[in-house]
Symmetry: C2
Subunit: 132 residues, 2 copies
């Protein structure tokens, strides 16, 4: 059974359970960490702990607001650890928890797909634009 068929079968199962946001793991996690900033920040932290300002520099066009918000959410969900040094000015370091590190595998799968098929997507978009 190929991945596509397996995925299709799984989707049927979720549907049977109502695809509820609370109970369906996939719905729930897609709603929370299935946005561009979460994934990008997890990738940024995969290389090792980083401070708030280092993350802001690492992901240039995220606003401070979204950076704070996303990190807090990842912390609450147990993927990221926040370590505050009570100096003045405060020094805050973010790192992946073991749970966060376990996410690197699937995320890497996504990343590899993106790098492999990016050209095809760009080509498809160009075709679509020409046809329009």
């Amino acid at each position: 059974m190929d991945a596509c068929t397996t995925l299709g079968a799984k989707f049927e199962d979720w549907q049977a359970l109502g695809l509820d946001e609370e109970r369906c793991p996939v719905r729930n996690l897609l709603d929370q960490i299935g946005d561009r900033w979460s994934m990008l920040l997890l990738a940024a932290l995969a290389g090792g702990p980083k401070r708030f300002s280092a993350l802001a520099r690492a992901v240039p066009d995220i606003s401070k607001r979204m950076l704070t918000q996303t990190l807090r959410m990842l912390e609450v969900s147990g993927l990221v650890h926040r370590d505050v040094q009570p100096t003045v000015p405060p020094s805050v370091t973010y790192s992946l928890t073991p749970l966060g590190r376990s996410f690197a595998g699937p995320l890497l799968g996504l990343v590899d797909w993106a790098e492999t098929h990016f050209a095809a997507v760009v080509e498809a978009r160009a075709q679509a634009k020409k046809a329009a």
Copy 2:
């Protein structure tokens, strides 16, 4: 080299290239298909072609507006094929293209992670709430 280290190394590379939305495959694709509806619709279509109304039923709380919009975007990016039967009322069937099917693998990786670690995330959230 484990996935986490590999991912960290890749992120360094992207950073070196400026993490530009146009040129960086990962940024670009996360921005486009890295939202809950895209992933959910791709999973819904993994099992086979579906009509518009079937998709609307399959993903209960997506609005028609987002359903249309997301499908169009996936079509433009070459992941989904849209087939219109010019009857009245029109009958429109959506299916995955080969490119779309190739995405099932990585997506399945994500899904498996979600199912495996959902309990841990729920537990982490409960702890966080208790601490607050």
